[in-house]
């Protein structure tokens, strides 16, 4: 009885939150005329999708500082498919994710054996490798990157228009905002289901004790790769969407600093909470912007606040809202 009640409450608040983002926020932006906020909020939504991927690797006990590599790869895959092969952007979105997932299986098989700081270091190097590859490969067009990517075209099913051609929209920014929010909702719904299903329990068993997990018959190498592939899939999708919004992608679009931020988003939000990466991204993004006025002290203040927050709230910001609700 109580369980169904909390479940209803959860669904209700999720729907309310989504309505807020899809209806109230655009109305508010319209009223205030701050349409630049669309770009900011769209970025937060997409960055939180990419960070959600990092959260999955945390969930199996790996510190992943390499998500920038997959975001970058996703961006290029989408851009190249759209520009060179005329593929519809909406189709390149899952394709970019799948490409990254496939690549991460090949990369993950050897490196996921590493634990702790060793995995973290190798993953950090990945982002740099991806950048160098983007500079060197003929298809990525070197340092000048890929520019003037057309806006997403119409998506229709059986003649029915599902998504209009973005180039015909009066306000493509609103279009991107809506698309990104829906994508984010889908991503976190999927993540919530994962964490609360038996798979989440198996991931936790890896995080807490890999030896014990293998002794009870869990194929730990397989599960690790699956989790890493899911993580990279989200990185690729987020990166593809970014490339389309900025209509360009460069080797420096996602750097080591971005990879570090994706990880910090998860830390700050709370590794034990599904919504942690979303909250963390939001706070970190706006926190950084708010400190802009402090000029040269921006980074110093930012880092200090971050360190203090992590010391005071080791379980992340979400632990304020949901104090010690089991370990999930």
């Amino acid at each position: 009885m109580r369980r169904t009640q909390t479940a209803t409450l959860k669904i209700a608040s999720a729907v309310l939150f989504l309505l807020c983002l899809l209806v109230a926020v655009p109305l508010l932006i319209n009223a205030t005329g701050r349409s630049d906020l669309y770009y900011t909020l769209t970025s937060v939504a997409l960055l939180s999708i990419i960070s959600a991927g990092v959260w999955i690797t945390f969930y199996i006990g790996r510190i992943n500082i390499g998500q920038g590599a997959y975001a970058l790869t996703g961006g290029y895959v989408s851009a190249i498919l759209v520009m060179n092969y005329g593929v519809s952007f909406w189709l390149t979105l899952p394709l970019a994710g799948l490409f990254c997932a496939a690549a991460s299986v090949l990369i993950g098989l050897p490196i996921l054996r590493l634990r702790g700081v060793y995995f973290a270091m190798v993953s950090l190097v990945l982002t740099e490798v991806a950048r160098l590859l983007a500079l060197a490969l003929p298809i990525t067009n070197g340092a000048s990157g890929i520019v003037s990517i057309p806006l997403p075209s119409r998506l229709s099913l059986f003649g029915l228009t599902l998504i209009p051609d973005f180039a015909t929209l009066a306000n493509p920014r609103l279009g991107f905002y809506i698309a990104s929010v829906l994508l984010m909702a889908l991503c976190f719904l999927g993540l919530y289901r994962l964490a609360h299903s038996r798979i989440g329990q198996l991931c936790q068993s890896l995080q807490q004790n890999e030896e014990l997990a293998s002794s009870i018959g869990v194929n730990i190498a397989y599960l690790r790769v699956i989790a890493y592939a899911l993580s990279s899939f989200l990185g690729g999708v987020g990166g593809a969407m970014f490339a389309s919004i900025s209509q360009s992608i460069y080797p420096s679009s996602f750097t080591v600093a971005d990879s570090v931020n994706f990880m910090l988003n998860c830390f700050l939000g709370g590794l034990g909470y599904v919504l942690g990466p979303m909250l963390g991204t939001f706070v970190l993004y706006f926190g950084w912007d708010l400190l802009f006025q402090t000029g040269e002290f921006q980074l110093l203040i930012f880092s200090t606040v971050l360190i203090v927050l992590m010391l005071v709230l080791p379980n992340g910001l979400m632990s304020l809202a949901l104090p010690r609700k089991r370990s999930l």
Partner: protein
């Protein structure tokens, strides 16, 4: 009774050190067989070889004639050989019940996708895991602690939880590495009772233990290892009289073999 497990010329080298040296013996169906020996004799290494946590340098282990060594731990577990750990090894941030529910992995019929989307098979599995976990917890006297976070348990219960986790895999052979270590007299007595009950469930038990009175009282047979080599094998009475065993344990306190 027939042999369930055959250990054949098992050898493990770590660089120059031969931790397990050409050890052979057989384990009968549903017996309690103890492996004893001084510290560093190679007992834990032997268990890790049998459960495929380590790859042998030479020799092999057969379960009902089928090789199970040199594979991977999860494959040995799937075939029915499961170990517990010398050090406390649990999923420390899960509740006691979730520890045991998680450990039912090998009994799943549903696929990972099935668990994700909540297929009928997955729901059946989850119900069955819950029922079986409750039964195992009751069996080991942990029922009242079901909802405790595992890391909060007192030592004796942690050992029992380790056994509960192994039991959840429905093993044919269970390898217990020093299950009575750090227990007081009462706890040991209860743990001995549990080991006897494991056998009643049809499980073959291999035991590494330093508590000699406990070993002597519970074992059907004993294998003695010293410096990686098997130096004796027999019933508790035979082992207590064996001059090689007495010699190996001399230098340590005489009481340690229960003489």
């Amino acid at each position: 009774m027939s042999d369930i497990l055959e250990i054949v010329e098992l050898t493990k080298r770590f660089g120059g050190l031969v931790a397990v040296n050409n050890v052979s013996f057989a384990v009968r169906e549903r017996e309690i067989l103890s492996v004893i020996g001084p510290n560093g004799a190679g007992k834990s290494t032997l268990f890790k070889l049998i459960s495929s946590f380590l790859r042998p340098s030479h020799g092999e282990v057969r379960l009902r004639g089928e090789r199970i060594s040199g594979l991977a731990p999860h494959i040995a577990a799937r075939k029915g050989v499961v170990r517990t750990f010398q050090e406390t090894t649990i999923f420390k941030n899960m509740t006691v019940r979730d520890n045991v529910v998680t450990a039912h992995h090998l009994r799943s019929h549903a696929t990972l996708a099935g668990f994700y989307f909540g297929s009928a098979a997955a729901r059946n599995d989850l119900d069955a895991f819950g029922t079986s976990a409750d039964e195992i917890l009751a069996f080991l006297g942990l029922k009242a602690l079901s909802d405790e976070i595992a890391s909060n348990l007192p030592h004796g219960h942690l050992r029992a939880l380790g056994i509960a986790i192994a039991l959840a895999t429905d093993p044919a052979v269970i390898l217990l590495d020093e299950p009575f270590a750090g227990m007081n007299h009462d706890e040991t007595r209860r743990a001995l009772e549990i080991v006897r009950k494991l056998r009643e469930r049809g499980i073959t038990v291999l035991l590494v233990e330093h508590d000699m009175p406990a070993v002597m009282s519970i074992s059907d047979r004993i294998v003695v290892i010293n410096f990686g080599q098997k130096i004796a094998e027999g019933t508790p009475t035979e082992i207590q009289k064996n001059p090689k065993v007495i010699e190996a344990y001399l230098g340590a306190e005489d009481e340690s073999i229960g003489l």
